[in-house]
Every structure is written in structure tokens, then in C-alpha cells.
Symmetry: C2
Subunit: 206 residues, 2 copies
């Protein structure tokens, strides 16, 4: 039956959505099969039928959103841009990540990975994927710039990722939505000065 299968797919989506929202709003520690089912108004047993166990569901939920985000990143950052334009786009993407809860859920699952080998393996692979992606961005962005002599793409990508995750531990903590905008705001003149100065004098002049 095509109809039955279509309904199964729709249910899967509902479960994935509810799982994501539960982690986002209640944290990993409070994300039980029962809590997810309550939020999505469906039967708790469906989780095990469709996903086997709760952690597998959570991984599927974060992957689902993660793939959409990855696609969006490619779209927005694919075309060439000068540094200022690039920064504006990166900020847009970051805001989307915060608003959608993606970054919160990723941070929650990273923290939970600590005590769960299966989760850890999976999240490690996901984060390494983002690390490689970000490192490529740095390479492309730094290509031909004097800054290339000063910034190692992989290390810089690691720092960006860590900053990203760390912000998303702090944001739910104080509930201050201005934290991230402020950081972008204040980082801007610093970055602009660095780019200008290095371009003018080169990284090795002293």
C-alpha cells in the first residue's frame, strides 16, 4: 500500500521533529521516549518501531537538520565574496543555526557523547565533517591573501567550531539573545583592522 507507507513516512517525520524539539527545549537529560511522545502527541512505542532506540532517533533527528543546514551553507557561501560580504553571510547562517535550535541540539549531543561510545562515534564523524567543511572555507577565503601565512585552516576551523559550540552552551544559560550579535559586532573592527594592516605590511614585517 502506497498510502500506508506514506503515512509511515509522515509519522517518522513527526517523531524526528518532536525528538529534535525535546532535546532543544528540555535538554538531553530530560529527553526520554516518553517525553518525546508526549511532545509529539503520538504513541511511545512508535519510537522503538521506527528507530529501534532513543539514541538512534536523536542521531537521525540531528542528521536530518544537519543535512539541511549543510546544503544551506553551500548555497549561501558558494558564490565568491569579499571579506565583509563573507562575514555578513556567515553571520546570517549562524543566526539561523541558533534560531532553528540546530546548534543547541548539537551541543547537547556532544556533551552527552561523553558517556556513550555509540553516540560519541557518531557525533565525532559529524563534527569532523563540519571541521573539514570549515577548513575548506578558510582555505578558499585565505587563498592569495597575506593572512594565509598566519592562519592554519584546520586549526582555525577547530577554533570556529569550538566557539560555535561554546556559544550554544552559554546562550541557553542566560537566555541572552544579544550575546552572539554582540560578538559579531565587536569582532568586526578587529577583523577589519587586521585584514587592512596585514594587506598593507605583510605578515612578517615588524
Amino acid at each position: 500500500m502506497l498510502k500506508a507507507s506514506a503515512q509511515g513516512t509522515a509519522t517518522r517525520e513527526r517523531i524526528l521533529e518532536a525528538a529534535f524539539e525535546t532535546v532543544r527545549r528540555e535538554g538531553y537529560a530530560n529527553t526520554s521516549a516518553r517525553a518525546i511522545a508526549r511532545r509529539g502527541s503520538f504513541n511511545q512505542a512508535l519510537i522503538f518501531y521506527h528507530f529501534g532506540e532513543v539514541n538512534q532517533l536523536l542521531l537521525a533527528a540531528v542528521d536530518r537538520v544537519g543535512e539541511a543546514r549543510r546544503k544551506r551553507y553551500r548555497e549561501v557561501l558558494g558564490s565568491p565574496a569579499d571579506p565583509l560580504e563573507f562575514a555578513a553571510r556567515a553571520r546570517l547562517l549562524y543566526d539561523e543555526d541558533v534560531d532553528s535550535g540546530h546548534s543547541t541540539v548539537v551541543a547537547e549531543l556532544c556533551a552527552a557523547s561523553s558517556g556513550n561510545p555509540v553516540l560519541r562515534e557518531h557525533m565525532l564523524a559529524r563534527m569532523e565533517s563540519w571541521l573539514g567543511f570549515t577548513a575548506e572555507l578558510f582555505k578558499r577565503f585565505l587563498g592569495g591573501s597575506p593572512l594565509a601565512a598566519l592562519i592554519e585552516p584546520k586549526a582555525a576551523a577547530g577554533a570556529v567550531l569550538a566557539l560555535y559550540l561554546g556559544m550554544d552552551l552559554l546562550i541557553p544559560l542566560d537566555g541572552d539573545p544579544r550575546r552572539a550579535p554582540d560578538l559579531f559586532h565587536h569582532a568586526h573592527p578587529l577583523a577589519a583592522t587586521l585584514v587592512t594592516l596585514v594587506a598593507a605590511r605583510g605578515p612578517h614585517s615588524a
Copy 2:
């Protein structure tokens, strides 16, 4: 009885230590009263006698280490230092935080705060304390430098804290102890160049 009270104090210490180590090694999600008691080889009921509930114990455990770390920070960063010396000391302190597990436990509890108002309130206060401390460091460090025009202490402190927390989500993930050293290593020439260039030309020249 002084002896009985002394033993009670010793037990409290054992419980605090076991609680800290359990969060560090097994993650918040696996940190139950039973798991803590198992690790410390004492009776599970003692936790409730001494601390009332598990979360209170965890907060006491992170505070105990946090206060020691704060003291250490003051000692090491109290005396004047040029930028290079300052960076070396900051790195030493950071390595200690990672080795001791302090940063991991803080990150775990921040993540867990998401779903627990009491925990959140407490961790928020602790993090704001560190935020103020770090902002003061920036103020002192930037005083009289041309960089002061480019770096807002509070925003910079927030970024450092986020970076710190984020690193401690990533480190247990891949178990790579070279992650942090590498970051310091690669950041060094960038920082050195920035300091030199800004000192030579000032932040507003273009």
C-alpha cells in the same frame, strides 16, 4: 565529638571527589547517586544525608574545584607580564583545567542546565563570575595598548569563555589531546603580528 565530625568532613570530601570524577568520566547523563557511590566505594544513602540531592552535590563538587582554580588563576596572573609571558601563563592554566577535568565538568553541567532551572541559575552565576574575572583581565592587559580601541573587554571575555567551553566538548569527543596545544601554537604568530602591527600603525590607520 571532634572525631566523628572530622570523619564526616572526610566523607564529604570523598563524596565530592567521586561526584566530580563521575561527571568527568561518565558524563552528566550517567551520573546517578548509585554511579557516584560505586566509584567512591561508599554507601549511596550518604549522598542524600550530606547533600540532600544529587544535583546539589554536583554543584558543590564543581564549586569546590572552581574555587581552587580561581585562586590559582589569581596567583598566576596576578603579577605583571608582557603579552608573550601572559600568553604562556594563560596556556599553562588552560592545560591545568583540561588535565584536572574542571573544564569538562563545567561544560557538562552547562549542557545539563538546559533542562533544569535550579542547575541553570547556579551555573549562570558561576559563569558570570568567570566572565567578569576574564573581562577584568582584558581591561588590565589592554590598558594603554592601541588594541584597547579594537577589543571590548566584556565581549572578548565572552568569546574566550565560549571557546573554552567549546574546546571541552570537542576534546572528549575525539580524545585528541593535541587539539588545544595546536590551537595555542597556531594562534601565536597571528596574535604576535596583530600586536606588532597595531602598535606600529594604530588601530585606525588604513
